[in-house]
């Protein structure tokens, strides 16, 4: 078989896996919704849960297979670009979800963690999926060791995030703090933003629609209709649905060459995400935190607390090994310096310090429980920023990972 054929085979496998995760997440959401309705639906609900679990396991197995096939086809470990990292993170989230929900007999976790896995895998496919050759810095077995162990730890943190969110929804009372209520609702809004971004972004990508704006010194490729153009663009350079674009230009005080493009992406994310949020609210006929609270009503609080702690406890040693220990050894070998305060290194340290603080909080009386749960919830966006934000927003030694 030729290499391109093998790689396209792995592409089909990735698509199947994504479908399995997506259906699994919906089954779990269906299960939890049915259970809250009426005792007579319990049998059906449990059936949905069992199928969700089977699909999740099948997804994890085939995802591993897809990655191995891609390795075989490309000749190097599939850890060298954003698509590959994010895809592996998605796999590791689903893996730890399957393990922890089995350990604790807690299928309800699926309604909160499986969607996170789906979002991460979907986000992976927003990036170019082509196989890129390995630049000299990445030609080392440390690439596999460093990336896999760090991402495994991050996957366990994601499960902790889901369980901590469930815990917060469970302990939330009507008389709760207004700030807390707003932040909880904001978490759901952020989910909606991600979903809005993914639906529109992947929609345009699958439809094969891109827009180019030619500037004197470079061509800007847009994945969304360029409503906000880069500095120096003129209306009419692009068209969408018969409208001349761009309508606005990036403000003069913004420095980055990509600021127009980034603003445009943010605009589409906000619009699409808000639409998704309002639709969900319309379906729920309530604030989303209310809907979430109802889904977890009656669950064992201590168990949710324990699962969210366990996610960090399982993930922390892996994250320490992958993102700190292996990272330092490899940095010494490749760059001759085990620590350079490169933004990516620093952000790994930040995440590591943050989760260390979480673990210490748990043994301080009065800081465990709700406060610690909030820290576990905030930890996951930090991890995602370390993985993505640093590459997309801050440049540094890890810049080969962008795009």
């Amino acid at each position: 078989m030729s290499n391109t054929l093998i790689i396209s085979l792995s592409g089909y496998l990735f698509f199947l896996v994504f479908a399995a995760y997506l259906v699994s997440a919906f089954l779990y959401i269906g299960r939890i919704t049915l259970r809250r309705r009426d005792a007579k639906h319990f049998a059906l609900a449990d059936n949905l849960g069992a199928w969700g679990f089977r699909l999740a396991i099948a997804g994890v197995v085939f995802h591993l297979l897809a990655m191995c096939v891609r390795w075989w086809g490309s000749g190097h470990a599939p850890m060298s670009n954003m698509f590959e990292y994010m895809s592996f993170l998605g796999w590791s989230i689903m893996l730890f979800f399957v393990i922890l929900s089995y350990w604790y007999k807690l299928p309800a976790l699926g309604a909160f963690v499986a969607p996170v896995g789906v979002i991460v895998v979907a986000y992976a496919s927003v990036f170019p999926t082509e196989v890129s050759p390995l630049v000299p810095a990445l030609q080392s077995y440390w690439l596999v060791l460093h990336v896999t162990t760090a991402a495994l730890g991050e996957g366990a943190f994601a499960v902790s995030f889901g369980a901590a969110l469930m815990y917060l929804l469970r302990v939330r009372k009507d008389s709760a703090d207004r700030w807390e209520e707003s932040i909880l609702e904001f978490v759901f809004y952020c989910f909606s933003l991600l979903i809005g971004f993914l639906i529109t972004g992947l929609g345009f990508k699958l439809a094969g629609m891109t827009w180019d704006i030619s500037l004197p010194n470079r061509i800007m490729h847009y994945g969304f209709p360029p409503v906000i153009g880069p500095k120096g663009a003129v209306s009419g350079m692009a068209k969408f649905a018969g409208v001349d674009l761009p309508i606005f230009l990036a403000p003069a005080w913004m420095q980055g060459a990509n600021s127009g493009k980034n603003l445009n992406t943010i605009l589409f994310t906000l619009v699409a995400g808000t639409v998704v949020y309002l639709l969900l609210r319309l379906i729920a006929r309530n604030p989303l935190r209310e809907m979430g609270s109802r889904a977890v009503a009656g669950m064992n609080i201590n168990l949710l607390d324990e699962v969210s702690y366990r996610g960090v406890a399982v993930g922390f040693p892996l994250f320490t090994l992958g993102a700190i220990v292996f990272a330092m050894i490899w940095a010494q070998k490749a760059w001759g310096s085990y620590w350079s305060w490169d933004p990516k290194e620093t952000w790994s340290l930040i995440s590591w310090l943050f989760y260390s603080a979480y673990l210490h909080m748990r043994i301080v009386r009065g800081w465990e429980g709700k406060l610690a749960a909030w820290v576990a919830v905030i930890g996951f966006p930090l991890i995602i920023f370390t993985l993505l934000g640093v590459n997309l927003l801050i440049s540094g030694l890890h810049s080969y990972a962008a795009g």
Partner: protein
């Protein structure tokens, strides 16, 4: 209904077992007036203080990645010109003056790190002795009520008490427990290393910090670079030995992305070739505590062939080879003597219109020749630009130049020369940290106490983590020892528990 109220029960168990360890800071708060030293000690011995320090260092590090740091921003200007322009006059200078632009070496960041180090040491010292007593010298025969009040507990009926305890001991030994029998009492535990995990981690972290601080000791740390041209030998900074570059190669993929950078290097010590190695990214050369890393390269012009041409006939008079890296003083071609008057390796004009070098690399060579024609002709001077031989500035001379063979490419490899005697300490520290975190979170310290109470045996269990795992183990043990009192229960879903 299921409020957090259930939790303190577990803590109560912990307290009664390891009372001193858990109570250290509560006790400290109760004690009366203290000296400054004692207060400082208590401050650093506190877990809340350690937690806050961790958050503070994380927050400070975030700021360091958002503000472009000195030496990391991509701009050629010095900080005093760059920052006011980048962040505005007032704010930019504020950042610079407060050290925010060199965050990780600023006094207050280092102070935070130092405080964390102090907290690591003092927290560990404070808890070491109580924990030693609690883990290594456990009370095998605690008060009966202590066992009876444990949350994880089961009873089993045994005809003969000693026999019953023996069976329990056999079961626990099969599960790799360390078992102690004292009369009609039994104590068993396993996974003690799990309790030491946090301390092992802290020791590892201190080693890493110590290894990093060793840089301050003269002779421990060196960070230099050296340029070695193909075929040449250079003394390695900080060493008494030399390195020769036999050949540097840069390879690229069809897309233009770099594929590999390699240097064929030879170590020469005391005039002997002692080591041959290929240096590439991820494969440094190591010799006598110094490591050479592939970090950069540049390409220059080597040998070229030039022709001297008769201007009137347009016919070549003869050719000669010029080594642009190391040209000869004079060349003789067809009776003409060419003497180098001036040589600019990277020719340009300076502000005053005078010839100058744009860099010290051979990238645009220009030679001013003093030429003596054969048979006593009139001597003259003229420029020869190897890349632009047509640029003949002098009109009234009989000859001109042509470059018949373009200059060969001569590579110079850029090697980073690094010495860090702190590395073994750091690697050892990282190894210990790894052992420590895995011991902490992957090993649970489980303990059992059993006592005879009337016709039955009461078994109480305790663990420092994974309560569910202990519960499962105890349920299995209970059913195994006495199926009638403890029938096998169906596993329930977590949501209903």
């Amino acid at each position: 209904m299921e409020e957090k109220g259930g939790a303190p029960e577990a803590e109560l168990e912990l307290k009664s077992a390891d009372a001193e360890a858990a109570e250290a800071e509560t006790e400290a708060a109760v004690r009366p007036v203290k000296g400054f030293l004692e207060q400082t000690w208590d401050f650093f011995a506190s877990v809340p203080v350690a937690t806050v320090l961790l958050f503070l260092i994380a927050a400070a590090s975030v700021a360091g990645t958002l503000i472009e740091q000195e030496g990391q921003y991509s701009d050629w200007r010095p900080p005093l010109d760059f920052y006011p322009d980048r962040y505005g006059k007032v704010f930019g200078m504020f950042l610079f003056k407060t050290g925010m632009t060199r965050m990780y070496t600023s006094w207050w960041y280092l102070t935070l790190l130092f405080m964390l180090g102090a907290s690591l040491i003092i927290c560990s010292l404070e808890r070491f002795v109580p924990l030693w007593k609690a883990v290594q010298r456990p009370n095998h025969t605690p008060d009966q009520n202590f066992v009876k009040r444990l949350k994880n507990r089961f009873d089993f009926v045994a005809a003969d008490a000693t026999n019953g305890l023996d069976t329990l001991a056999t079961q626990l030994k099969a599960r790799r427990y360390f078992v102690v029998r004292e009369g009609d009492r039994l104590f068993a535990d396993k996974g003690r290393w799990g309790r030491w995990g946090p301390y092992i981690t802290h020791i590892g972290l201190l080693l890493v910090l110590a290894g990093a601080m060793m840089r301050a000791i003269p002779g421990v740390y060196m960070d230099q670079s050296v340029w070695v041209r193909d075929g040449s030998i250079v003394r390695v900074p900080g060493g008494s030995w030399y390195v020769r570059n036999d050949k540097f190669t840069a390879e690229f993929y069809a897309s233009g992305q770099p594929k590999s950078y390699t240097t064929e290097a030879v170590v020469i010590d005391n005039g002997q070739e002692v080591k041959k190695a290929t240096i590439s990214m991820n494969n440094p050369l190591s010799y006598r505590w110094i490591e050479l890393y592939q970090s950069s390269y540049r390409q220059e012009m080597g040998k070229a062939t030039a022709a001297l041409i008769d201007k009137t006939t347009g016919k070549p008079l003869g050719t000669f080879d010029v080594d642009l890296l190391n040209p000869a003083d004079t060349y003789t071609v067809a009776g003409y003597t060419l003497k180098i008057n001036q040589y600019f390796t990277d020719f340009t004009m300076d502000g005053n219109g005078k010839p100058a070098n744009a860099s010290n690399l051979v990238q645009n060579p220009g030679i001013l020749f003093d030429i003596t024609p054969p048979n006593g002709g009139k001597a003259f001077s003229t420029w020869y630009f190897i890349l632009y031989p047509e640029m003949s500035l002098d009109k009234d001379i009989p000859i001109k130049f042509a470059t018949t063979k373009d200059p060969e490419v001569s590579s110079t490899t850029g090697l980073k020369v690094k010495k860090d005697l702190g590395l073994p300490v750091i690697y050892l520290g990282l190894f210990i940290v790894t052992l420590g975190v895995f011991a902490t979170f992957y090993l649970a310290h489980r303990r059992y106490w059993a006592l005879v109470d009337g016709g039955k045996i009461v078994v109480g269990g305790w663990t420092n983590r994974n309560q569910g795992g202990l519960g499962t183990e105890m349920a299995i043990l209970a059913t195994l020892l006495d199926p009638t009192t403890n029938p096998k229960k169906d596993e329930m879903e977590g949501e209903e528990r």
